[in-house]
Symmetry: C2
Subunit: 122 residues, 2 copies
């Protein structure tokens, strides 16, 4: 049907992208990583440096972020570069817009949130 052409479907095998994106965002370590990548692309080791957990743990977090599409990883030589993929947030953002007409972004509030994130996570 025409509907199926426009509104693509998910079978049991593939999870709704919103599931994985929101789940990825639910972890403070992962949000902190996204904030770091906002500044610049980074190697896995460098991403891990400020955190008090093992490199393997960060590697897992990066894997989750990659599966969700929020970042991409490209291996050049022996280092794997992590790059923010902000487009992946668009679906989630669009979904959220349905729940109220938010006033245009308040930059003060945004700065406070960013600040809090960096303080408490990194």
């Amino acid at each position: 049907m025409v509907d199926d052409y426009l509104a693509y479907r998910f079978n049991a095998a593939m999870a709704d992208p919103l599931d994985t994106v929101f789940a990825a965002l639910a972890d403070p370590t992962r949000r902190a990583i996204l904030n770091m990548l906002l500044e610049d692309d980074m190697a896995v080791t460098d991403v891990a440096e400020p955190f008090e957990m093992s490199l393997a743990a960060i590697s897992k977090h990066l894997g989750i972020l990659t599966k969700s599409g929020l970042i991409s990883q490209e291996k050049r030589g022996r280092v794997k570069w992590c790059k923010l993929e902000p487009d992946a947030l668009r679906a989630a953002s669009v979904w959220m817009q349905g729940f109220g007409q938010f006033e245009p972004v308040n930059l003060d509030a945004f700065e406070r949130f960013l600040e809090h994130e960096l303080d408490s996570d990194a």
Copy 2:
């Protein structure tokens, strides 16, 4: 310090609101519930009706949504009314805006997403 006055902090006891909001949004059942409440306030039993799971399970989901602030519950008589609280999304929305200047909401895309959500979840 002045900073602490403006940028309020979280101790180990209280979780970052973003944690709970994003975690709440990561579950398709809970997103479907939010979509239902977008239409109207509903009693717990009525929320549960379209789902293929127990009332107790839905009650738990509603508890999680309430803790996250995404909905509120008010008991009148023997029925507990559930009400959408879209303000809780604002923090998350603001946080997400930091990751790219999304073009103004595309309503076509939004409708497709809503449609997909309703089809696959309910």
